[in-house]
């Protein structure tokens, strides 16, 4: 069986990739995607810990992951709504041009 550490390493790698994406890309949508990737990496951790933890029948990690997925979906919806709304005002999704406080 695959050791828990392997799953944790994959999750860490994915988290780092998501972080790099969120930090380097200039498009707001891609930043959101990077954040989603980080959330997903966290979910993988939760599921892996649930599976290898002492009391899987209590479903703690699994529940955490399911709620996290639900929250992430809500976050994506609102985030993308905001991006579209900003795009309406500023005609851009480039974060470097979105630094003004007035619309």
């Amino acid at each position: 069986m695959t050791p828990l550490a392997a799953y944790l390493m994959v999750a860490a790698l994915l988290f780092a990739i998501g972080l790099a994406g969120a930090l380097t890309r200039r498009n707001a949508i891609l930043v959101l995607i990077g954040i989603e990737l980080m959330l997903n990496a966290a979910n993988l951790n939760l599921i892996a810990f649930w599976r290898y933890g002492p009391h899987p029948e209590l479903l703690t990690g699994m529940m955490f992951a399911i709620f996290s997925i639900a929250v992430a979906a809500a976050e994506a919806a609102v985030g993308l709504g905001l991006v579209i709304s900003i795009y309406r005002h500023a005609r851009t999704t480039d974060l470097e041009q979105m630094n003004r406080m007035k619309g």
Binding site: F15, A16, A20, T24, I29, N43, Y52, A73, A77, L80
Partner: protein
Amino acid sequence: MSPIFYLLAAITVAGGLATVLLKNLVHCALAVTIAFLGLALLFLSLDAQFAGFVQILVYIGAVAILVVFAILLTREAEVPESSPAGRVFSKTWLTGLVIAAAVFAMLGWAVLQSAQALPNETAMPAVSVRDIGNALVGRYVLPLEIVALLLTAATIGAVIVAMHEKEAK
């Protein structure tokens, strides 16, 4: 470590990398779907059937589609990012890469440090969807209600934020 795990991990990481590195926005959105799919399969390999299918349903079926819609709705704004050659040496890119690498190094170090202490094998938990349902409306009923409220609020919020402003112009 089974070859299947390597395969799934490779798919997931490759999808993630492609998301960050590809230039075309739509390609990025499709690449992130591959990462989501890889993660769902990893969940399945961890015997978390329910979470795996929910992952596919929510991420591939909804979030990826949302992202794609957002990309197409803001298509005029597709600014050509600075050329790849120039990007490698740009300050933002370098800073981001360094921070990400540092975070990964730290996480990896932490994992490897505790690898001995981590459990390597457990019996497969006998968890059915019925148990998950019972837990959701039993032990976790308060979070469930809060999530329900959050989702409703998010739906309304997203609609209002993105709604067509009436006769604004």
